[in-house]
Symmetry: C2
Subunit: 584 residues, 2 copies
């Protein structure tokens, strides 16, 4: 062992002890006759001291040659500091060094190894091994480990078995694109990397492993939006002999446990909301309920007046911005510009100032009197001093626009406190969603989701109205998990594939094994999967997942540190019976 | 919830309780006026009873329609059994059923769902979801979960952090073949699936995460020998600021803990043996030391007599078979035939019977007298009643042959007790191994292994003699883990690549990121990786790994259940800028 102690553990109780430490030179203060070094390792920083009186000349000279990030080993005595540093756990002591060994030199790092670094994103990714030395990244990785250990221990105590499902599986055209893996031993054939272990966990249910989980990598060859990774980690779970209520309870238990253990926050009972309610009240199926500003629908009170914009709209809907009457005319103009940006797409915004004297002043005073506006205030819950913002138009679009505005305002108003946690179940998702491009319905969750009992018949007449036994768990406005009760009989599953446009042959080729399995006594079952990267980031009080992943890829799916992907040589291609067929 | 209790928990304390159970029909005994069903779930079996007196006629009739593996839900009362079954934990009670719901029917399963099944290997693989219902397979999966939980908890308590490393990395031609993954977003380029997270864990050491572990899938596109899988799971570990001794101690702790917790076996201190000793004493770098039969080298006492076969041999070496004198002439002839099989390849075998009266009778009595043979007995440790088996020839080959014979004999003699555990560290592996085909040296472990200090110079003169800081952990004759202290400076690493035949450009293209990292203060580090599949199988008292893997592949790397790999469609190939280039 290169050390007797870490750089984080020495205290005044160790004074006069001979110790050996090893670590990185964080920084050097050289006063000529005296020299201090901050020695850093994973556990902390300990100050080393060299001085003319007590250190040999050789040692002093040697110490002066050390650069930042040199790896050194020192032997010395723990002594009391003359000027203590109350900000450092080891700040009461320092090490009077008697021996110094340079274990490895270092070039000058391309960015500073400090909590606030001067390195940009790309540079930090290229030298990720240096970035990981920084406390914020290192602590995130340790935090992630802690969370996953809690998850595993909790689920194990609840009787769940972690089962590893295969990574080399079969490609299925449904959903996002698969990454494929050519097989050398089976010429012209390919494995696919799993987008999720969905079918395997269902087979485990058929196999009687009635409580399964797995923390597992999944893969999607999607065009990467910001903060998406081609490989990501799921907490994948499934249970047999359960109904939706059971799953919600068990996994409310898990997330509640994490909030308690990791964040010290107790949430007694997670609120629930149907998809329809969420869309109506927040214009969003993952509302952030750390703050209010619920939607108030104003059709009844705002239409049938002389304001044609509202009269022609499918939906007139507003929110009350707390203390929004403080906004200047210029502030409000900025908001109007903001909702009119193409990313949001509103045509305009009507507003009502709720004055402290109880009167109202609106941008549509020509059409609405004080009594009208008082009704608006009542419906949106606006109080004196608030501002009511109202959008109108196509219901789906306007809800989305107002939801965006709500989030933007909350951000500005500091209502999105990362130390506050507001979980929320969304239930009763539609089974299908309309694909405008393909002019047909797709499974909203996936084709294994069961419709609500008695609704299967609606498929023929009102497919968009069929509700599924599907649910999401939302935390602080971010979907952290989702799942469903599955279909467990062959007939319904075949019907669903048929409905989703699979021919019998396609359904059989791709999912025949699952439908076969359903013929041998498949139990009722359902499950949920959580996105671990995102869950960890939110519990850690942050929103970007990248710094909770040790070696993330950039937005082009590249690992800029190892420079992957990369060309492979012809011999390797030939062995795989492949030829490149480049477009450019 | 479909049940109030599982089929494994009801006891006589529950008598008179109303319960709801759900599970599979294991078997039905129908006496006409009375009918019993064994209902099975993950937790056990509970007997259901229907009879003419107490059950309605409808219920009786319904019960008679149930086939094997039907999934049912029953409500009923726990009653005392008239004839108890002491072999069943729930054998004191049965359920008088009042309500029966068929949750799902089942076709007749293609093999029996019993501990001893009538299903062959391929059939069981195809219907793996049914195979998993069988206790032996189900219990293996549960056992695997238990072992991995112990591993994670132990290492976490020791301060290790589990860090996920990427699955989409870069292909390197060194070692076994990589599986590659074409990148759609980076035309003509490929990721590779990791054969191990080797370079990433070393980068984590450079990053200051000084105790890392990960239970992680690895991939090798090798021609599959029996009991190898293209995807397998490792317990991958690395530590910084350590020497070999530290690693051996920490991971002896881990395996000792598992033996204690999982098997109830205490092994005080794992013995150690150098590679050279192991080869000399057991002809094998992974000797099974649950039994003796160490090699006795007989050159000094068996050569320079008139027996030319021995005189011309590089090595004459024998083992004493306990009580082997009981073997008939026919038995011994069988042994001789066995060693002469092409798989073993010996030209013949000399034997010496050690009679109970202290005399010897050998197959070479013409050349050796009783005194000679007494010396053989002394050197091989043969006692009265034993049989000495002697092989001769080229040292490397003959050691291998005798090792094979030793294992074969031990198997026959029942010395390989799966309930006994004999771990053994093998140390001081050679750095390089000669590749007869390529006529050059390869890294025996991998190119990141450090040579023993002061031996680097030997590379030029006697490369085969250079010893590495490399070690294996052997359990019951099977290598369960291996590792090394790594090179941590750029110069040595570059030298090693150069020595292994990499050009500077190749070394840079493939491992430039690692050598760069070594320039920024890489600490001394080393690690080990355990094969989880095999470790779990051995701890479970078995040798084949396949039944400890939920969904294994067959010897052609196929998943016969989902029928993967499989062709993908042209559109998918085109998107990946690939064309098939089939040989046949």
């Amino acid at each position: 062992m290169f050390r007797s102690h870490t750089c984080g553990e020495l205290r005044d109780t160790h004074i006069n002890k001979e110790v050996t430490l090893a670590g990185w030179v964080q920084k050097t203060r050289d006063k000529g006759f005296m020299l201090w070094i901050d020695l850093r390792d994973r556990y902390g920083i300990t100050q080393l001291i060299f001085d003319e009186e007590r250190s040999s000349q050789t040692l002093m000279e040697q110490a002066k040659t050390l650069g930042r990030e040199f790896v050194i080993q020192v032997k010395g005595t723990v002594i009391e500091r003359t000027s203590k540093n109350p900000n450092l756990p080891s700040g009461d002591i320092e090490i009077l060094v008697s021996e110094l060994i340079v274990l490895n030199k270092s070039l000058l790092p391309p960015f500073t190894i400090e909590d606030q670094t001067d390195g940009g994103e790309e540079l930090r990714m290229k030298y990720r091994y240096l970035d990981i030395r920084r406390n914020p990244v290192k602590n995130n990785l340790i935090f992630r480990h802690k969370v996953t250990q809690h998850v595993r221990n909790y689920l194990t105590n609840e009787g769940f078995i972690e089962v590893e499902t295969p990574y080399l599986i079969k490609s299925t055209p449904e959903g996002a694109r698969d990454f494929v893996v050519p097989s050398r031993m089976n010429e012209g054939q390919f494995y696919a990397l799993p987008q999720s272990p969905q079918t395997f966990k269902q087979l485990l249910m058929v196999g009687g492993i009635d409580k399964y989980f797995q923390i597992v990598k999944c893969f999607r060859d999607e065009d990467l939006r910001a903060d998406r990774q081609p490989e990501f980690t799921q907490i994948d779970c499934e249970m047999a002999f359960v109904e939706q209520e059971d799953i919600l309870n068990v996994f409310e238990g898990l997330i509640g446990y994490l909030l308690k253990e990791v964040n010290g926050v107790t949430v007694e009972k997670f609120p629930r909301m149907t998809y329809e309610e969420a869309m109506q009240k927040y214009g969003n199926d993952k509302p952030d309920i750390r703050f209010g500003m619920g939607f108030g629908e104003l059709n009844a009170v705002a239409q049938h007046k002389d304001f044609n914009v509202f009269n022609q709209a499918e939906l007139v809907v507003g929110i009350a911005v707390p203390n929004g009457n403080e906004y200047s005319r210029k502030d409000i103009d900025k908001l109007i510009d903001w909702v009119k940006r193409p990313q949001v797409g509103a045509l305009g915004m009507v507003y009502v100032r709720c004055n402290d004297d109880g009167s109202y002043k609106s941008s549509v005073d020509k059409f609405y009197n004080q009594d009208d506006l008082a009704k608006w205030a009542e419906i949106t819950g606006a109080k004196k001093g608030d501002l009511i913002c109202v959008l109108s138009g196509n219901a789906t679009k306007v809800r989305k626009q107002l939801s965006a505005l709500r989030m933007e305002l909350a951000e500005h108003l500091g209502l999105r406190n990362p130390k506050e946690f507001a979980p929320l179940w969304i239930t009763d998702f539609p089974l299908l969603e309309w694909d405008e491009d393909a002019k047909r319905y797709h499974a909203m969750h996936h084709p294994f989701t069961s419709p609500k009992s008695g609704q299967l018949e609606l498929l023929e007449t009102n497919p968009g109205d069929v509700k599924a036994n599907a649910y999401d768990l939302v935390l602080n406005g971010i979907e952290i998990g989702g799942g469903s009760i599955r279909i467990h009989d062959k007939k319904t599953q075949a019907l669903m594939f048929d409905y989703l446009g699979f021919t019998k042959e396609e359904a059989n080729a791709q999912f025949g094994f699952l439908m076969n399995a359903f013929e041998y006594g498949a139990p009722p079952h359902g499950g949920i999967a959580f996105g671990l990267d995102r869950l960890v980031a939110i519990l850690g009080g942050q929103e970007t997942i990248r710094d909770f992943i040790a070696f993330p890829k950039n937005n082009s799916g590249r690992d800029v540190m190892i420079d992957a992907p990369a060309p492979i040589d012809d011999a390797q291609l030939k062995e795989l019976s492949l030829k490149l067929d480049l477009k450019s």
